[in-house]
Point group: C2
Chain length 239, copies 2
Amino acid sequence: MDTRRAPVAGPDLASVARPLADRTRASFCMALLDGRAWTATELARHAGVAASTATEHLNALVGGNLLAEERQGRHRYVRLAGPHVAELIEGLAAVAPAGAPPPRSLSAAGRRRALAHARTCYDHLAGAVAVAITDTMTERGLLDWGRGLRLTGDGEAWLGRLGVAVPAGTRRPLVRSCLDWTERRPHLAGAVGAALCRHALDSGWIARVGTTRAVAVTAAGRDALREQLGLPEDLLPPR
Amino acid sequence: MDTRRAPVAGPDLASVARPLADRTRASFCMALLDGRAWTATELARHAGVAASTATEHLNALVGGNLLAEERQGRHRYVRLAGPHVAELIEGLAAVAPAGAPPPRSLSAAGRRRALAHARTCYDHLAGAVAVAITDTMTERGLLDWGRGLRLTGDGEAWLGRLGVAVPAGTRRPLVRSCLDWTERRPHLAGAVGAALCRHALDSGWIARVGTTRAVAVTAAGRDALREQLGLPEDLLPPR
DNA sequence: AGGGTGTTTCGGCGGGTGCCGAAACGTCCG
DNA sequence: CGGACGTTTCGGCACCCGCCGAAACACCCT
């Protein structure tokens, strides 16, 4: 019965960590880190487990307030419960070992390459392109990494010229650094990271690849990213 | 044998979350969140488990790179592996339910009250006093919560007058918000939070209570905190 | 209504994990 | 040297947890 507990300790970390302490559930979370909602079967197939198993895992994750669910007809859609969960997972990933051994099949290799090049990470961009964007923004003095990450005045003006609405009045940090797990270097997150990603999607600079979390730079995006940010050619699609 | 895994997924979250997914190990971590090094037996007694059990748990936490250990003679000292682990635990605590039911014994109640009043949280201050400090700093315009937390110019000047050296050249954010698990409201963390805590200890404003993580406001601290920050009287020791 | 499909429930199985106490092992100190 | 003390190893036990398939259920569509 376990009566001996009389901890002066605070919140019950274990109850939050437990749902994440399983390879399959962790794999669900990594998939959901693209910020979209997945159905139970999609996640089951993604992780290679039976649908019934996926159900049980989703119950654990939803019950632990890590995922939010939304029922639509016979579908069960789940997504991360909020930015705080995405940041929690980032925190875990930052401590975690590299993982992901080189892929076996050719198609898997292609899929992985697409992901490593550009993808969404919750509500902002990740991958080589995102890291390059962050780098060039730093070089041009739009971001300052002096003590913690900061958006400079130039950065704010640049966003204005671009027509990116910077959300105000929110408690969310304007800019935040998020460790990119393919590049192992930080990319831009926070309110500005999210707004920039939304702008890139809205303006057709990037587009989702099928139903995956990978995104591709479009022809319009190539011109815009080269012109606005001077991104290196080898990251952009050939003319 | 588990051969079926072929995840495109990234880092292995589960291997990091697993060590934290146990009440006893979590209790160790909450204790270590005071930033100090504890011996194996101290932690065992704190959590109410056998020494042998504590050893196994510590192996798991150290092996998962969450704790750093230091052997001194027959003692095994452990502490959090770094600020990133402290922040990870904060992230978990922010999602976790309140926990900690009201204490049974009178002495436990006293201990808990001391902790709730003022304690260290890794390298900065926590508890009612810390939250009050954060609040008054905000009221006086030293901190700005507009969009994310920011140290104002006035804040920087105020620290200078106080003689608090603000570490420069580091990548660590100057100010960061950390959810206080007794007050359920944020208090000040980050480089400035740490510097302020160190200054308070060095100047004798506060002192550790025995060997616990609780701290008490000294007579000198009472005057300083009232004068420099206008902290409400009911949080300060009576004259 | 009825078939197809996504999801859930239920047993049952195998393995992993946390716990303990006893004994062994080191280190410190008198 | 020898006792005291902190730590570790080792069995052994109980229990929890993740997995599956089959069957039931719920919903959509024709």
